[in-house]
Symmetry: C2
Subunit: 242 residues, 2 copies
């Protein structure tokens, strides 16, 4: 391994990368930048921006309705792309807010597309990464469309635990979670008041406790059952492309 950035770890899980491929990948990382929590990096409707790879911290992508409501589409954790879709579609269909202070590395689209020419397997890998992101949005849609508030919250907390576990930031006991109840409300399509009540119910039922920036799974198995959580769509058992 030449490099061991979060992106390499993520993509390497799908495609077994050769040394030349690793160096092309490394050359994509341009400027390193930091953004402070709460100050949007990308605004809905913006054009001509760059994409980023999140190195540390949490961010979220969201859409604002004209009546002021917002829907958080997804949260990003280290190793995830920020704004890749925006850049490909040429206009950002969403905004991106750092949930915490974050560090990112900039990726210029032109460089990314050039890299595809040099190592087409990289294109496949990025397509895979995009598919995986889409799968998460899809699961989120199911959450919001067909689960009640309790199941929705439980499922969300479990899913995030699984995602964080993949990058070494959590396990079946729990994880550090910088989200506010307002973030949860906007992500789950609930009111902040109801989020608070639902969290209390789950806590009193002895399943999860979310407090002081930490999610603690008090009874993981019961929670999995309650949420009908099936992590199979997130499984990846080693490189698929050799």
């Amino acid at each position: 391994m030449i490099d061991n950035t979060p992106l390499v770890r993520k993509i390497g899980a799908f495609v077994a990368l050769s040394d030349p491929e690793l160096s092309v990948l490394a050359s994509l990382h341009k400027r390193r930048r930091t953004f402070v929590a709460g100050r949007d990096l990308v605004h809905q409707g913006q054009t001509e921006q760059a994409a980023y790879i999140l190195a540390s911290g949490w961010a979220c992508s969201y859409k604002l309705l004209s009546d002021g409501q917002r829907q958080i589409v997804d949260f990003q954790i280290p190793g995830d792309f920020l704004g890749l879709r925006s850049v490909l579609l040429h206009v950002s269909d969403h905004s991106i807010e750092p949930v915490t202070d974050i560090e990112v590395t900039e990726v210029l689209v032109a460089d990314l597309l050039d890299a595809f020419t040099q190592t087409p397997r990289l294109a496949t890998a990025v397509l895979w990464a995009a598919s995986r992101d889409e799968a998460m949005v899809v699961e989120h849609l199911v959450d919001v469309g067909r689960r009640n508030a309790g199941e929705r919250m439980a499922h969300f907390l479990l899913e995030f635990g699984a995602r964080l576990a993949l990058v070494g930031l959590g396990n079946k006991d729990g994880y550090a979670c910088p989200l506010t109840q307002y973030h949860l409300a906007d992500a789950l399509g609930l009111s902040a008041v109801h989020v608070n009540r639902v969290l209390r119910q789950l806590r009193e039922a002895g399943m999860v406790t979310f407090r002081d920036g930490f999610v603690a799974f008090d009874d993981y198995d019961q929670l999995v059952k309650f949420a009908q959580f099936d992590p199979s769509y997130m499984d990846h058992k080693g490189p698929i492309l050799r």
Copy 2:
């Protein structure tokens, strides 16, 4: 133009394709197959299946919960991929049901990935197509998470009109729509009963009429306003890659 399949039309809207690229694209189309309405082509959890490109008819992709509820993630119309994500992730995270009888052409993943090696621009184009699909799922998520039943229905019908217009199957007067009220319910996260009521309200308000397999926009502008519909995320003004 060597070829004029729905896929070429779709991808050509993003990448200006050269003749060699067109022929690689044409070589992807293998067996032509048909499936009857209601009989799933792909089942959740299935592995090792092929991807398809829809040539005629409508399909939908959905996820089933263990309690029997279902959430329709998206509907596919001619030119759309079926099961591309499943194939990349190696396991299908969803099922696919033909809404009408459909015709598809099979695409073998191996061929697709080979094609990327021969013409990397094709990889970019497919990545773009996947991003566009993801953008639609995202908008769907906003629908379900933050709009009430009336707005949700109105927005959905408008969005579909716009999508169909892109492939010449609809305009601002309306479009042929083979969906049942049950399909709408499962897509919008509502009960079938409520779908019926909401359709009545929209009809009585003089905005849209959905009857006998046809959506008629009675007052397009009013409906756009009511639904807070902003089609900018679907716009594409000619090839982005030259």
